[in-house]
């Protein structure tokens, strides 16, 4: 810390006297007996205080995983799902495929929202090789689904990748 030159309204004597005030001063009593319990309390709480962020992450991940699974399974188990794709005339394939893509988009948005929450607490998660592979796989499946919007197995595949991605992130959070 360098002294500035704004001392024009201060006499040299007073300036020196003020500098002289910079002296050590002991409190009127020993403060350590009051400080030590606060430190030991924190020392005991330290592991617990680090844990909550992860404990908060895990429910978020679990909720996200459930959400993705529910979205995927819900779509797959909807009334007439199998019958629709199995019995749909070829000429109506595109008309029936649009809801599938919409469903995939909705599932992806939910998944990405959950992942953003987690990513804020696990900033390095995106650099994990397996996670990157899963992200790349999900992109490929999304592309394939865009090419073949009636391929229900691609939606199933996408749902499994998202679940794997969240599960792996969950394990990283626990590590």
């Amino acid at each position: 810390m360098t002294r500035s030159r704004s001392t024009d309204d201060l006499s040299p004597a007073l300036r020196l006297q003020l500098r002289g005030l910079r002296q050590d001063a002991l409190p009127q009593r020993d403060l350590w007996p009051d400080i030590a319990p606060r430190l030991s309390l924190q020392a005991r709480e330290a592991p617990a205080s680090e844990a909550p962020p992860r404990r908060r992450v895990l429910p978020a991940l679990a909720a996200a995983a459930v959400l993705v699974l529910a979205a995927g399974v819900g779509w797959l188990q909807r009334p007439g799902a199998d019958a629709t794709s199995a019995s749909a005339p070829a000429g109506n394939a595109v008309a029936h495929a649009a809801p599938l893509v919409v469903e995939a988009d909705a599932m992806t948005r939910e998944y990405q929202g959950a992942l953003r929450e987690v990513a804020a607490m696990l900033p390095d998660a995106g650099e994990h090789a397996t996670l990157s592979q899963l992200d790349a796989s999900a992109d490929l499946v999304r592309d394939a689904l865009a090419q073949d919007p009636d391929a229900r197995f691609l939606l199933q595949r996408l749902q499994r990748i998202y679940a794997q991605r969240l599960s792996l992130t969950q394990r990283l959070a626990r590590a």
Partner: protein, 193 residues
Amino acid sequence: MATMTETLTEAAFDTADDDHALVRASAAGDMAAFEALYRRHLGRVHGVILRLVGHQHSRAEDLTQEAFVRAWQALPGFRFESAFGTWLHRLAANTALMELRSRRGTPAMDGDEDALDGVGVADSAGHGTALSMDLEQAVARLPPRARAVLVLHDVEGWKHEEIAETLDMAVGSSKAQLHRARKLLRTRLGDHA
């Protein structure tokens, strides 16, 4: 003289080395090491806080405790880029200034000179007149923010930029507060200034 300088320099390095060893141990959770740091630096920490709060001893003791607790919390982040004593001194000043900032909204912290006049003299009230008041008491009787700026600038040697940043004010405000504080100080010291 050279011998004395060398001796002092060596002593300073020894102290810094000792500090660093204690800091490492403290950061790892060694409370005995931290107590040694506390004993070694208590006077400096309490001194700056006492000056900033206008020699209100009870308040200064509370803030000194708080400063050491905060230091214990922050130690794992200490990077050994500066002397531990310098880092701790800064942390102590910030602890006192944080409280000062938190009181800014209260009437006693606003610009009303009359309201401020009695602040900071809890332990020195009734001690003599302005003419016989010593410099330390005169500084203690300054309005809180003006006192903080004067103490930081004229006693502790901070720059206006550092003061402004820490007190969350414009550099110009820091300079104005210093000018005001010096004027008040000279008035209260009378002919002695």
